[in-house]
Each structure stands twice: as structure tokens, then as C-alpha cells.
Amino acid sequence: MTKSLHPGAWWAWALLLATAATRTTNPLLLGLLLGVAAFVVAGRRTQGRAFGFFLRLGLLVLAMRLLFEALFSSPLPGHVLVRLPSVPLPSALAGLRIGGAVTAESLVSASYGGLQLATLLICLGAANSLASPRRLLRSLPGALYELGVAVTVAMSFAPQLVLAGSRVRRARRLRGKSTSGLRGWVASALPVLQDGLESSIELAAAMDSRGFGRRGVVSAARRRATSSALLIGLLAVAAAMYGLLATGSPAVIGLPLLLGGSGIAVAAVLLGGHGVVRTKYRPDSWGAAEWLVIASGLAATLGVVGAGRVAPGSLHTSAYPIVAPALPWPAVAGIALALVPALLSTKPRPQARQVETGELIGAAR
């Protein structure tokens, strides 16, 4: 088996896990979600670097949340752990404070919130490392292709900036300039931007030379019709979301508008696709395995939502007073089901051997 799963399935799975995480601040459930994401990523051994980056970002978010809680917000009453020196503020700024007492309760409460945010980020990281966003963009319908390229180029701009940045910092050291401090940053920003821009222009030239943006014969009127239909459809969807989510708005602009709007948008995308010459090399196919991956992600979401119905309160662990978090069984079962992709999905092609032989042949030449 050499086929890998459709990137859309991976992204849907990870986003469903993230949705589950938005519904709960229970640290046990969040921990389970993290464990599932990490286990599946580790089993696939794809681009682990992206995952590592998001993992660190998640930890940073958690740490920042705790730090801000300790320094700036009014504490929950309870067990005082430490009293920081406090800065008196004028009465106009009532509600704000700097320093003062730090209670165990407020730290625990902040850590639950921080953990939830970190879990969201790490689920995104899992999506990134399971299927690169570029691969996902390849699966976009033809009419949206150019939008996808804009995103791809924008994403390649960021790592280039990082590279250019480190080069310029090295160069500043070679010139005997300080590499830190605000002035150092400002002085190196311009060359970095210039470098990044130059390589993006180079990329655009290469893409143009290779036929990017060739169009079939489409009349201007039809093109205009397509794009306005797309715009109207999307506006309708946005209004419908508002109607559905905001309480107190008339029910009419909810579901019907959502269905109508998405119908128009889909039609516009299909219509626009006719003018596109592009074809796809080895398109990712969608089969039973992909449905199963999505179903397992959905199990996690439904499990957590279901737990809220079966045992109300189990999803949000109280910090005042501090209690042991509950472990509602529907949520645990659902999250456990999300592990299925680790068993089912095909591993990526073994590459190590090929690399070795490739280098041997290169060396022999």
C-alpha cells in the first residue's frame, strides 16, 4: 500500500478534535485529547517538526496565561499561595491591579483555560503535520485554485523571512554591530523584507513561465456572474451564521438562509470551474478509510457533547472550591474512538532505504 489518506480527512479529524476541546475545560478530557493527537502524529511519523512547534506554542500559551493571572487579575478568594508586591493604581482603574495576593484557586482556574487554548493549538499542529496545508490546497476545486496559490505563496514567504532574518543577523555580527536591541531589529528589518520580496518575485516568474494562470475561453460577462454569485452566496451564509448563533434574532434568517447561501456559493464554484484549464496529477481519492477517519473524529466531538447531556457539569471542572475533575464515560469512549486512525491508516512510504541508495549512486558518480 503506498496511498496516503486524503488531506481533507486529516484536517476534518483534527478540527473535530479541536471542536471537542472547545466544549470542555475538564483537564482530564483535554489531556486525553492531547494524548490522542500526539499518539496518532507519532504513529504516522510525518513532518514531526510542525507538531513540535505547535506543542511548544501551546506550552507558551499556558505559561503566559498563568503569568498574567498571577500578575494582573483580581484573584478568586481562597488559599493564598504567595503575596507579590502590589502597585497601587488610581481609583479610575478599579478592577485592574498589578501584583498582590495569588491564590491557588485562581491559578488552577487559569490553567484550565490555558490548557483548553493549548489543546486547540496542538490539534491544529496535528493537522499541519499529518497533511501539509499545501497538500490540502491541492484538493481545492479548480475555481478556488488561484486563491489557494495566493495562500501557498504567502505561507512560503514566512519561512523565507525567517531564513533571511537569520542571515541578516549573522551579517550584522560580521560587521561588528549589535544583533539585539530595537535599533538592531529595525536596521535588519528592511534587508530582510527586500530579500523576502525578491524571492517571492522570483517564484512568481517561475510560476508564470510554467503556465500558471492560463485561462480557457470564458466570456467576461460569465466571469462577472460567477464572482457575484459567489459573493452573494457567502454573504448569505455569513448572515445565516449570525442568525443561528445570536439569540434573539428572527428564526427565519437561520437555517433556510444558510442552505440557500451555501447552495449559491457551491453553484458559483462549480460554474467557475468550467473556465479552468488545470488538471490534477494523481488526485487524492476519497474512500471508505477517509469516511472512517472523519467518523472517529466525530465520535470524539459527540462523546464530549453527549457527556454534557448525560452528566451536566462534568465538562467544566470547578476551581472554587478546587475539586477533582470528573471523568464522564461518553466523553472518554468518544475520545478513545478517535484513536482509530492510528491503527487504520496506511503508513507513508518507507523512504530511508531509497535515500541511502540514492546517495550511494550519487557518490559513485
Binding site: K177, G211, V277, G362
Partner: protein, 535 residues
């Protein structure tokens, strides 16, 4: 195939035309070499073939350029993609996708090929360019020679009859350059493609060319046979210089042709005994300036230098050679304190470079990076020179290195040779006892290279220790007193240049290859030898 009819081209803000009344015809199946000084307009000429000039760059083009009868005026590059394949200077910055196979398919996807055709062409191209074992590899992990071949393959799959390449071998080490050139000659011989390429490294490519187009700084393009162009050229590759010196007729362009004509010369030189060393400072070295003992440098879990022992003395010029990724740049970066050793000791003038503040290090070690423009941070050359506090000295140096340079111009608008001159002036103004250069001849034409050689010799005579990381064997043969070959982070050869470079076929300069087994390395040596022999 490709027709230029009275073509003139001027960039939007430029005062003078870059191309002037270019009128020529390139027939089917030829390998055409475009030469000229840096900044003369070679890239502009190449980009005019597929319409990037003027559709992408702007500017005014008069006259008519057509490829297979398609006028570039009415066909932007994307409409010509199935006729002309264009490969830019830096392959990595032109890659759109992540892996080799996807990159090869990209052009065909844009042009709307059938899925079955795409599969077949990708397989054919993988085989043709020897890439089949790399098909799943991420593009960023490939070596630069492999990247260049993928870049060529990625335009080939669309089935063009013309391939346009801008300096395809400049950044490559000698074996990787051989790989790319072998692939290109195969395309010309087996598939009958027309290949148009610009290249400074004439010693590598002139022997394969069917014709040479010389772009002058005034914008004229002169069409001629390679032999005629080489006879005319002021500075030429060593094989041609040697042929002119020895008066060989017809002028040989390849090492093989020269070798067949070289028998009488070899007899004469063999009688002279040991070759003279004109302009080279051999055996006359001072104190040790830089010293490494069992030096180990790591990037995360990759060992870049694995136990290096090296002494560099004042007045020495050391050429650091080896494959891309062998650890050359790492060694230079450690010497200037950008990297800290994981083990072992490293000292410059008795001090550990990575512990020094950047203001101290510049007075001890000067490094000209691979991309000299990285050093620049000001809006004009003059500001640049004055930025470090010894502006007057830097200006005097630059006046020697590049006398006609306009000090008001923006550093990024300079040609490759001028950038190197400014970077050298900046670094040398601090008068460091150790000078490091990373790949200094990349993109330099022969006159600029000759000037660099003179400056380096002068500083070595003045007692500066110089280390040059380079793929350019001719440069090493010209200036280096000592050559160190690195492989996988270890030193595999260290000795006098004439012994090291003649011992290895990959690193032998052309003159040494022609005169093998005599230990003569450069045309200058032969010239000096013949003069003293005649006396």
C-alpha cells in the same frame, strides 16, 4: 526556431538600453552559450526569449521576438510554457510544490494535460535526468546539483522544444556541475532540443557549445562560433589561454583536444624541471593566526565538523575545497565565532572567537559571506562604507577594487563583481589578520576574478592569513599556497596546492589535466617557465 528581429529593450527607469538592435536567428537543435560581463544584459536576453521580458519586468521592447513562429508580444510567458522552458538562477526559489514528483507535474497541471499523459511524462523525465530514486524526496533536502536537475525536469515535462537556463552550474561543485551538463548534452543529442544558456564558468561549458552569443555592455549581441569567440575574448578559460600561449591551431576548447596538441609543450616543460611560482608566496609564512584542535561542531543532531585539526599561518592562502555540505562554510562560521564548538579547541590570535563581542571579532577576523549583499544595510554605497567608523580607508580600498563605481548607487543595484568589491572593502578596512571568503567567485566574470586574485596575493604578501572556501579549482590553483579538502566534516587532504589538486581528478585545474603528470597548474606558471627557459 528563435528569431530576434531588430530588438531593442530598455528598463522602465534606465537611461540607456539594455539590448540594442539584436538581430539573430537560433536554429533548431543547437546548444547556444550566452557570455558577457556581469550586468551586461545576459539575463535580460534570456528572459526575452520566453516573454518574461517585457511582460513580467516592464520596460519597452521594440522589434520582434518569436519562438516557433509565436510572437512574444501577443504571448505572455504562460502561453509559451509549452514551447520554451525557462530555468532561473536559483532553482530553490522557483519551486512551487514540496516534492520532486509534484514539482515535475506542476507545469503539466497548469497546462491541463491528461492524467495518463502526466504519469507517463513524469516517469520519462525521472529516468532521463536520473532522478527516479529521489521521486518522493522533499525538494529542500536535495543537493544543489539535484535541485538544478529537478528544476530542468520541471520545465521539460511540458514538452518544450527550447530550454533557456540562467547560469545553471555557477553555484555547483565540480562533480554536480558535471551531472547537470551531462543531462543537458543528453537533451541536445538525444532529443534534439535547443538549449540557450548563460554561464560565467566558461571552462566548464564552452566545449559543449555549438555557438556563442556575446552580449556587450553597450547591449549589442555578437553571434559567432566558439573558437572565433574565444580567439577574440580578452580573458578566456585556462585551456584557451594555454592554447593561445602555445600557439596551437585550431584553438582547442576542451581539455581533450588540448591534450592531443600538448606533447611538444610537455617535453619543453619537463626539461625545465620544477615549475616557478609567480606571484605566489610559498614557504614564506609567519606565526600561526588560527588554530583548531579536534574541532567538533554540531547543528542539533547533525555533526558538521567531526574533529578537525588545522593551523593557518600569517601570509598563507588556504583553499578549502570539498562537496557542498562537506563542512566548509561551517568551518568559516566557527572561525568568525558565529557557531560555538561542541568539543575541541579553536583559537584565533589566542582568543576563542565565539566568546568575543562582535565589535572585537571584526578586528580579528573578516568574513565575506557567500552572498556579499547580506553585509549591506545602508541606502547608498557611501553610507555603507562610512557605517563602520573607518570610512576613509574603506573608500580608498574600494577606489582600487572598483574604480568606476558610483558611490551614490544603492548597494542592491550593483553587479555581482561590484558587490564583492564593496564587501571586501568593508571587511578589509578593519585590517583583520585573518580574512575568510566563502565562494567568492560565484557569478564573477574573468576580469573581476583576475582583480580578486591580485588583491588576495597582495594581502597575503602583507602578512594576512587567508582562507577561501571554494569550488573554483582554477582560483585555488591561482592563489592558494595550501589546499585542504573536507569530506563529511573531516579533513581528507591537506598539503601544498600543487600536490593536492593534481592528486585528485575532480579538483585538478585544466592546465594540470592537460599537462598531466607534470605538476604545472596555471597558465601564468607556464608563461613564466617558458620565459625563463628561453633566456
Amino acid at each position: 526556431m528563435i528569431r530576434f528581429e531588430h530588438v531593442c529593450f530598455r528598463y522602465a527607469e534606465a537611461e540607456t538600453a539594455t539590448l540594442r538592435d539584436v538581430d539573430l536567428d537560433i536554429p533548431d537543435g543547437e546548444l547556444v552559450l550566452v557570455i558577457g560581463r556581469t550586468g551586461a544584459g545576459k539575463s535580460t536576453f534570456l528572459r526575452a526569449i520566453n516573454g518574461l521580458v517585457p511582460h513580467f519586468t516592464g520596460g519597452t521592447l521594440t522589434g520582434r521576438v518569436s519562438v516557433e513562429g509565436r510572437d512574444t508580444r501577443h504571448n505572455p510567458p504562460r502561453e509559451l510554457a509549452d514551447v520554451v522552458g525557462y530555468v532561473g538562477q536559483d532553482p530553490l526559489s522557483g519551486f512551487v510544490t514540496d516534492t520532486v514528483e509534484e514539482e515535475l507535474a506542476y507545469a503539466m497541471e497548469s497546462l491541463g494535460f491528461e492524467a495518463a499523459v502526466m504519469r507517463r511524462r513524469v516517469e520519462e523525465t525521472l529516468d532521463l535526468l536520473g532522478l527516479s530514486l529521489l521521486r518522493d524526496r522533499p525538494l529542500v533536502e536535495l543537493s544543489s546539483g539535484q535541485q538544478q536537475r529537478v528544476a530542468i525536469g520541471s520545465v521539460l515535462t511540458a514538452g518544450p522544444r527550447v530550454l533557456v537556463l540562467d547560469e545553471p552550474t555557477s553555484a555547483l561543485d565540480p562533480p554536480a556541475a558535471e551531472e547537470v551538463l551531462a543531462a543537458l548534452t543528453r537533451l541536445v543529442h538525444d532529443l534534439g532540443m535547443t538549449v540557450v544558456m548563460a554561464e560565467h564558468r566558461l571552462e566548464r561549458v564552452v566545449q559543449y557549445a555549438d555557438r556563442v552569443l556575446q552580449v556587450s555592455t553597450e547591449g549589442a549581441v555578437v553571434d559567432g562560433s566558439p573558437v572565433a569567440a574565444m580567439t577574440r575574448a580578452q580573458v578566456a578559460p585556462p585551456v584557451v589561454e594555454l592554447g593561445r600561449l602555445a600557439g596551437w591551431q585550431p584553438l582547442p576548447l576542451s581539455v581533450r583536444d588540448a591534450r592531443r596538441a600538448a606533447a611538444p609543450l610537455k617535453e619543453r616543460l619537463a626539461r625545465l624541471g620544477k615549475p616557478p611560482q609567480p606571484g605566489r608566496n610559498v614557504g614564506n609564512v609567519g606565526n600561526v593566526v588560527a588554530r583548531a584542535r579536534d574541532l567538533v561542531v554540531r547543528y542539533d543532531d547533525v555533526v558538521a565538523l567531526a574533529g578537525v585539526d588545522l593551523d593557518v599561518a600569517a601570509g598563507e592562502v588556504v583553499a578549502l575545497m570539498g562537496r557542498n555540505g562537506a563542512g566548509k562554510s561551517t568551518l568559516l562560521a566557527s572561525l568568525v565565532g558565529l557557531l560555538s564548538p561542541a568539543r575541541g579547541e579553536l583559537a584565533v590570535d589566542g582568543k576563542q572567537p565565539h566568546r568575543l563581542a562582535s565589535s572585537e571579532i571584526v578586528r580579528l577576523v573578516g568574513l565575506v559571506p557567500q552572498e556579499p549583499a547580506d553585509l549591506f544595510c545602508a541606502e547608498s554605497v557611501l553610507d555603507e562604507l562610512n557605517a563602520d567608523g573607518h570610512g576613509a580607508r574603506a573608500q580608498r580600498l574600494l577606489a582600487r577594487l572598483s574604480p568606476d563605481l558610483d558611490l551614490a548607487s544603492h548597494p542592491r543595484d550593483l553587479s555581482e563583481g561590484q558587490r564583492l568589491a564593496v564587501a571586501l572593502a568593508l571587511v578589509l578596512a578593519a585590517a583583520p589578520p585573518l580574512l575568510l571568503l566563502d565562494e567568492p567567485t560565484r557569478g564573477l566574470d574573468y576580469p573581476a576574478k583576475a582583480l580578486l586574485v591580485n588583491v588576495l596575493r597582495e594581502y597575503a604578501d602583507g602578512g594576512t592569513a587567508i582562507v577561501i572556501a571554494t569550488h573554483d579549482v582554477e582560483l585555488a590553483a591561482d592563489v592558494a599556497t595550501r589546499t585542504v579538502v573536507l569530506a563529511d566534516g573531516e579533513i581528507v587532504a591537506d598539503g601544498p596546492t600543487d600536490e593536492v589538486v593534481t592528486a585528485s581528478p575532480a579538483f585538478a585545474p585544466q592546465v594540470a589535466k592537460i599537462l598531466h603528470p607534470l605538476p604545472w597548474l596555471t597558465v601564468a606558471q607556464v608563461r613564466a617557465g617558458l620565459e625563463t627557459g628561453a633566456l
